[in-house]
Amino acid sequence: MNRPEHNAGTSIHQASFISGQALSIPTLRVLNDDGVVIDGAQMPQIDQALALRIYDTMAYIRVLDERMVSAQRQGRVSFYMTCKGEEASIIGSAAGLSDDDMIMAQYREHAAIRYRGFTSDNFMNQLFSNGKDLGKGRQMPIHYGSNELNYMTISSPLATQIPQATGYAYGQRLQGRDAITMCYFGEGAASEGDFHAGLNMAAVLKAPTIFYCRNNGYAISTSTDEQFAGDGIAPRGVGYGIETMRVDGNDCLAVLLAVQTAREYVLAHNKPVLIEAMSYRLGAHSTSDDPSGYRSKEEEELWAKIDGVLRFKAWMQAQGWWTQEQDDALYAKYREEVLNALKVAEKVAPPTLNELVSDVYSDVPTHLQQQLSELKQHIAKYPAHYPAAKESH
């Protein structure tokens, strides 16, 4: 029968639903819960150097997160967010990329910019909004970005980076770059309209993007059963015609394998891939949040037991690539480094008042020049009232 194409396909003659749970997507695992490689599991491409770079980043981020949460409690920074519990997911995925790939993240992925080489000073300058912050002190703490490191500056509005990643990747493909775009987002952000737009456009327009969903169980206080009714985020990929994988986000080797496989596919086919990494936000949403109001200690402990850093460390040790002594030394080194950087950054002068009006446009237009000069005259009248007056002499 010469039926037009989009009315073709198999037929049924009894009314029946495709169940909303029809697709149950399995989870890729390489390590078991104790950090031992599962029999017959496929290994990612990893050697000792790469493993050390990954573990080094893990240790660094643990130290940084711990230190900055205290700093926030002490009132030294206004705000902070940790990635505790998701280190394996974030670092394992970053390690599966090439340094030329653009990373467009949500906010909880500072481990990825660290993996690329963001220094303690870089971190601290941003956290303290000082004059050396690459972002010129304009965004709240944790909104990192670096052109040099191909890490797009974080933007607070959720999910906006998703269609942007599609566009970025499309541009990379058209210009024949040997690079892709990695787009991170939370399972909460995946409810935004921009998610839908970004993934569908990537599929249709063949943008070399990896969409990496960090499903960590919560969006602030909202648990996943109040966020979606399907089997997580992964089945949506199939809805868009996108190749999809689910991975144990607390299994660093599985994550690395997933991303390496995905990157290869994306570059070879100029098509997107969706990865859903199952993990857990072990800490509070941010320093403004207290999770005891919406979840149990038991639940947290269950997840703490299968923590990805512990599992990766156990594997490293079993490989003979790492010892407890090295571990202690590494943590000690980073504790000192971070604390020193913090003390330095605290004292760096804030950006000059001129930065209040720069970068709104490529040049400062007349009306902003005028507003700035009026402001300066005003400040000169009340120097005691304005911090900027103190800085200027």
């Binding site: 000082n130 304009r138 709240m140 109040e226 979606f228 950006p351 209040l356 009232h385």
Partner: protein
């Protein structure tokens, strides 16, 4: 009467509205069990159940689309947008749908029962995405009302009036004052009429006009002016759309001078509209140019927030300039 902060006053208004009418629903991101990131819906899920006070998935366009549907159906939705900075994904649902629902259908359908609550404004070290005052994006939209309270008493009365009003209302809550502003608030339900400005304190030399958290700076500047012998008439606009031209024109006719102050950037802010209208109405009474003391024409800054803000000192300087013109 009870002592309440602004959050309590909001919470109390919601509680009374939900108690009185079981068609009233409160929802938004983290609004349910947790009671909202600022805790303004605290306790409401326990009291009224998960069907009437609940978390939504994380989608502002969905929240307002859903709320429009509920309102058209006959429920009384009170939708929360977690920060006014995040209202823009819902902009189409508000500007093209909420605002035009009644008009386009010839009143076959309307969403008059809808209230959209959202915390706005700076002063909390929130940077460009937790500080915006986007009211002027809404005041150019016929079909909605825009309301901003300045303290707990006003907040409760204006919110209850917004819920009971037969038109959709965007209700901006000054988050800087959530805990900072405390005052006496009647425990029972009461309404403050929408569309009416309030003369907060009478004066003769210059009219100072604002709304929301900005009223604090304005009152402070007025006090400073008093000390040097300038008498200010302080007016809180309260409802920005449709706004009370008459009260403002009357005041300016009397004082001959007007200073408008808002947190949002100068260009395209609502002060421009007020200035233009009052210039037309009071042309022959104006003794000096209407002046606007507003945010700079930049995104909201972080580290230079103090310098950026249209604070009492800037308003005070504008008062002197106006009187000495």
């Amino acid at each position: 009467m009870a002592q309440m902060n602004l959050l309590h006053a909001i919470n109390n208004a919601l509680d009374l509205a939900m108690e009185k009418n079981d068609k009233v629903l409160c929802f938004g991101e983290d609004v349910g069990h947790f009671g909202g990131v600022f805790r303004s819906t605290s306790g409401l899920q326990d009291k009224y159940g998960k069907e009437r006070c609940f978390n939504t998935p994380l989608t502002e366009q969905g929240i307002i689309g859903f709320a429009n549907g509920l309102a058209a159906q006959g429920s009384v939705p009170i939708a929360e947008i977690q920060f006014a900075d995040y209202i823009f994904p819902a902009f189409d649902q508000i500007v093209n749908e909420t605002a035009k629902f009644r008009y386009r259908s010839g009143n076959e359908f309307n969403v008059g029962s809808l209230v959209i609550r959202t915390p706005y404004g700076g002063g909390i070290a929130g940077g460009l995405y937790h500080s915006q005052s986007p009211e002027a994006y809404f005041t150019g939209t016929p079909g909605i009302k825009v309301v901003v309270p300045r303290n707990p008493h006003q907040a409760k009365g204006l919110l209850l009036a917004s819920i009971n009003d037969d038109n959709p209302v965007v209700f901006f809550e000054p988050k800087r004052l959530y805990r900072a502003s405390i005052g006496e608030v009647p425990e029972e339900a009461y309404e403050i009429e929408l569309g009416k400005a309030e003369v907060v304190s009478a004066g003769s030399d210059v009219t100072l006009l604002g709304w929301g958290a900005q009223m604090e700076y304005i009152e402070k500047a007025s006090d400073m002016a008093k000390e040097i012998g300038i008498s200010c008439e302080v007016v809180d606009l309260r409802t920005l759309l449709p706004w009370d031209v008459e009260t403002i024109a009357q005041s300016v006719t009397k004082t001959g001078r007007l200073i408008i102050s808002h947190e949002a950037p100068l260009t395209g802010g609502f002060a421009g509209e007020i200035s233009a209208t009052i210039s037309e109405k009071c042309f022959l009474h104006l003794e000096s140019p209407i002046s606007r003391v507003c945010g700079l024409d930049t995104p909201y800054p972080l580290i230079q927030e103090k310098e950026y803000i249209a604070d009492h000192l800037k308003i005070f300087e504008a008062i002197k300039a106006s009187v000495n013109f």
